[in-house]
C-alpha cells in the first residue's frame, strides 16, 4: 500500500501539469467512449481539438466562435472562482445568467422602438443588476438564516427557467411574432443590439469585456488585500474572524461578484449571439463555467485558458455532431470526465505519495 504525506508547499509545476494531464486523459478515455459509440475515435478527437483551430474549411468560422462561446464561460467562471476560494458555493450561475438576460431585455424591449444612445449601457447595467439580485437571495438566506447556498442557488435555477418560459410565452413575447414563442430580436433594435465589433466575425463587446475582467480579477485577487481576505475565509474561517474581517460581508461580496458577472454574460448573450429571449435561451454555460473555474485552478489567467479549451470542446462538439453524427450529450460526458480527472489529480498536487514497506 501507499502512504500520503502532505506537501508543505503546493507544487507549482504539478499544479500546472494537472489541467494538461487531465485534458490528455480525457482525450484518451473519451476516444474509447467514441469507439463504443461507433465513431472513429481519432477522427472525433481531431475534429474536436484540432479542426476548429487548424482546418482551412472550418477555422475562419470556428476561431471567432471559440471566443464567442468562451466569453460567457470566462465571465461566469471568474465570478464563481472568487466564491469557490472562500468556500461559498454558488452553483446557480445558470439562473443568474437567465435573470440577467431577462432583466436587461425587458428594459430594452419596454422602450422599443425608441432609439437612444443611453439604452445600450443602461440595458447592460440592468442585466448585471438582474443577475446580482438573483444571487442576493442565497446570499441573504445564508447570512441571515444559515441556509445552505448550494441548494438555494440551484433551486433558483429551476425557478429562473420557469420565469424564462413565462417571459418567452407571455410578457416578452413578440407582438408581431405571429404567436410564436420568443421576444423581439434585439439585433433588429439598433439601440439595444450588442453588435459585432469586428465585422464578419460575430465578436461582440462581451468578448472584450471577458478579457478585461480577466485582468481586473487578476489585480483584485493578487494585488489587493481583498484577494487575501477571500482566501483566508476559505482556508480558515476562524483566522478570518480574528483578523477582523466580517465573513458575512465577504459572503455577500462573493455572491455579488458571481451573480453580477453571470448577469453580464446573460445580457451580452441575449443582445448578441442569441438575439432574443426564448425558452431554449440557456444552454448550460452556468454549469460548464463551474468546470472552467476548476480547470483554470481558480486563477484568472488559468480561467481564461480553461474557458478557451472548454469553448473549443463546444465548437468541436458541434462539428462532430454535424460531420460524424456524434450525439450532443457526448460532449457533456467529455466535460464531466475532464472535471473528474482534474479533481483526482489534485492528490499529487497536495500530497507526496510514498510506497510503504520498501525503504
Amino acid at each position: 500500500m501507499f502512504k500520503l504525506i502532505p506537501r508543505e508547499n503546493v507544487s507549482p509545476v504539478l499544479s500546472l501539469l494537472g489541467p494538461l494531464f487531465s485534458v490528455g486523459l480525457t482525450m484518451i478515455v473519451g476516444g474509447i467512449l467514441f469507439y463504443f459509440l461507433g465513431v472513429d475515435p481519432f477522427a472525433a478527437i481531431k475534429m474536436i481539438f484540432w479542426d476548429p483551430l487548424m482546418s482551412e474549411t472550418f477555422s475562419t468560422y470556428s476561431i471567432p466562435q471559440i471566443f464567442i462561446k468562451g466569453a460567457p464561460l470566462i465571465l461566469i467562471a471568474l465570478g464563481l472562482s472568487v466564491g469557490f476560494k472562500a468556500n461559498v458555493w454558488n452553483i446557480g450561475a445558470e439562473g443568474q445568467y437567465i435573470m440577467g438576460a431577462i432583466f436587461g431585455a425587458s428594459f430594452a424591449l419596454s422602450l422599443y422602438p425608441l432609439e437612444s444612445i443611453v439604452i445600450f449601457p443602461a440595458m447592460i447595467l440592468i442585466g448585471v443588476i438582474g443577475g446580482c439580485l438573483w444571487s442576493m437571495i442565497p446570499a441573504f438566506l445564508k447570512v441571515k438564516f444559515q441556509v445552505n447556498e448550494i441548494l438555494v442557488s440551484l433551486m433558483l435555477v429551476y425557478v429562473a427557467e420557469q420565469i424564462l418560459a413565462l417571459a418567452s410565452l407571455g410578457f416578452l413575447r413578440n407582438p408581431d411574432g405571429a404567436g410564436f414563442p420568443g421576444s423581439r430580436n434585439l439585433n433588429q433594435y439598433t439601440s439595444a443590439s450588442n453588435a459585432e465589433i469586428i465585422a464578419g466575425t460575430g465578436i461582440h463587446l462581451g468578448v472584450l469585456l471577458s478579457l478585461l475582467m480577466v485582468i481586473f480579477f487578476y489585480v483584485l485577487l493578487f494585488r489587493h488585500s481583498l484577494g487575501f481576505k477571500i482566501k483566508l475565509l476559505g482556508n480558515s474561517p476562524k483566522a478570518s474572524g480574528f483578523s477582523g474581517d466580517n465573513p458575512n460581508k465577504l459572503i455577500f461580496l462573493c455572491l455579488t461578484l458571481s451573480g453580477s458577472l453571470a448577469g453580464l454574460a446573460g445580457i451580452m448573450e441575449v443582445a448578441g449571439p442569441a438575439g432574443q429571449i426564448n425558452i431554449d435561451f440557456n444552454v448550460g454555460y452556468g454549469f460548464t463555467a463551474i468546470i472552467v473555474a476548476f480547470l483554470g485552478r481558480l486563477n484568472p489567467i488559468g480561467i481564461f485558458f480553461a474557458g478557451i479549451v472548454m469553448a473549443l470542446t463546444y465548437v468541436g462538439g458541434e462539428l462532430t455532431q454535424f460531420m460524424l453524427n456524434l450525439p450532443a450529450a457526448a460532449i457533456q460526458v467529455f466535460q464531466g470526465m475532464l472535471l473528474f480527472f482534474l479533481l483526482s489529480f489534485d492528490l499529487f498536487v497536495h500530497y507526496k505519495i510514498k510506497l510503504k514497506g520498501n525503504k
Binding site: V147, N148, L151, I163, G170, A329, Q332, L339, L343, D346
Partner: protein
C-alpha cells in the same frame, strides 16, 4: 375551475407515488451523510438509475429487473465518486457536481434511442382486507412493491442508525473520523459502503421515476429531484421519519400543483411549476429559523476529507 373534480383519496395515493423517488434517494443520502460524506451527485445517480432501469426494463419486459439494474447503475456511478473522494482525496463538493454533470451526460447518451417508448407495467399489490377500507385503503394500501419497500426502508434505516451497533459505527465515523480511526474502525471502508448504498438508493429512486412515476424516458427527466432529495436530508435534521414526512409534504405540493394545472385553474403553468422549488427554499429557511436549528443533527465531519496520518 372545479375543485370537486379532485378526489382526495386518489390525491393522497398519487402524492405517495410522487414522493417515493425522493424518499428512496434521500434515505440513501442520509446514510452517506451520516458517515460524514456529502455527495452532491444524487441528481446524477438518479438519472443514471432512471435510464438504466428504463433500458433494462424495456429490454427484459420486467420492471422489477429494471429496478435492480437501476440500483446497480446508481451504485456503480457512486463508486466513481467514492474512489475520487476517498482514495484521491478530492474536494467533495466539486466531485459531487462532477458526478451530476457526468451522470446527466451519460444518461442522455444512453437513453437517446429509447425516447418515446412506453415502459413495462409494474403491478400494484393490494394488501388483503385493509386495502378494502374505503378512502384509507385507496390512499395507502393499493400500491406497488417499491412504495411498500420505501416505507420499510424508513423503518429499517431508523433501526439501523439508532438501535444497531453497525449504525452507531457509521455515525461515529461521520461525527469524528479521527477518533473512529483511532478506535480501530475502518473509516474508508465504511464510507465506501455508505456511498455505494446511497448510490443504489438514488438509482432505485431514479428507476422508479422512469418506470412507474412518469413512465417514460425523457432527457433530464429528474428535473432537480436529486437536489430536492439533498434538501430533504437537511430539512429532516438527519432523521428518517422526519425525512418521510418532508418528502410527502413535498410530493403533496407537486401533485396539487399538477392537479391544479390539469383542471385548468386560472394560474399560469410556469408559476405552478415553480412551486416545488420555491417550497424547497422556504422549507430550508423555516427549518433553519426554527428552534431545531438546521444544523443540529448534522454529522461533525460532514464534507471533510479523511487522511490517515500514521
Amino acid at each position: 375551475m372545479d375543485l370537486s373534480e379532485i378526489n382526495f383519496a386518489v390525491l393522497v395515493a398519487s402524492l405517495i407515488v410522487a414522493s417515493t423517488p425522493l424518499v428512496l434517494a434521500a434515505l440513501g443520502e442520509l446514510i452517506v451523510e451520516k458517515s460524514g460524506v456529502l455527495n452532491l451527485g444524487v441528481e446524477g445517480m438518479m438519472i443514471i438509475g432512471a435510464v438504466a432501469g428504463f433500458i433494462v426494463g424495456v429490454e427484459t419486459g420486467s420492471a422489477y429487473i429494471g429496478m435492480m439494474a437501476a440500483a446497480m447503475a446508481g451504485a456503480l456511478l457512486s463508486l466513481l465518486f467514492a474512489f475520487i473522494i476517498l482514495i484521491m482525496q478530492a474536494n467533495q463538493v466539486a466531485s459531487g457536481l462532477a458526478l451530476t454533470i457526468f451522470g446527466l451526460g451519460i444518461a442522455a447518451l444512453m437513453g437517446h434511442p429509447y425516447t418515446g417508448i412506453k415502459s413495462p407495467q409494474i403491478s400494484t399489490i393490494s394488501i388483503p382486507f385493509i386495502s378494502e377500507i374505503p378512502v384509507l385503503g385507496t390512499m395507502f394500501f393499493q400500491h406497488d412493491l417499491i412504495v411498500y419497500l420505501s416505507l420499510i426502508s424508513v423503518l429499517v434505516i431508523w433501526y439501523f442508525l439508532n438501535r444497531m451497533r453497525a449504525g452507531l459505527i457509521v455515525r461515529s465515523v461521520g461525527e469524528d473520523h479521527d477518533v473512529a480511526h483511532s478506535l480501530g474502525y475502518r473509516v474508508v471502508t465504511i464510507r465506501f459502503l455508505a456511498i455505494t448504498f446511497g448510490g443504489a438508493m438514488a438509482g432505485v429512486g431514479g428507476g422508479y421515476l422512469s418506470l412507474v412515476r412518469v413512465p417514460q424516458w425523457t432527457e433530464g427527466m429528474t428535473a432537480g429531484a436529486g437536489w430536492i432529495a439533498l434538501a430533504l436530508v437537511v430539512f429532516s435534521g438527519w432523521r428518517p421519519f422526519r425525512l418521510l414526512i418532508g418528502a410527502y409534504i413535498f410530493g403533496g405540493i407537486t401533485i396539487l400543483q399538477l392537479n391544479l394545472q390539469a383542471i385548468g385553474v386560472n394560474i399560469n403553468i410556469a408559476l405552478l411549476s415553480m412551486a416545488p422549488y420555491l417550497a424547497t427554499i422556504l422549507a430550508l429557511v423555516v427549518i433553519s429559523m426554527s428552534r431545531f436549528r438546521g444544523n443540529r443533527g448534522a454529522p461533525g465531519c460532514l464534507g471533510r476529507s479523511f487522511v490517515k496520518i500514521t
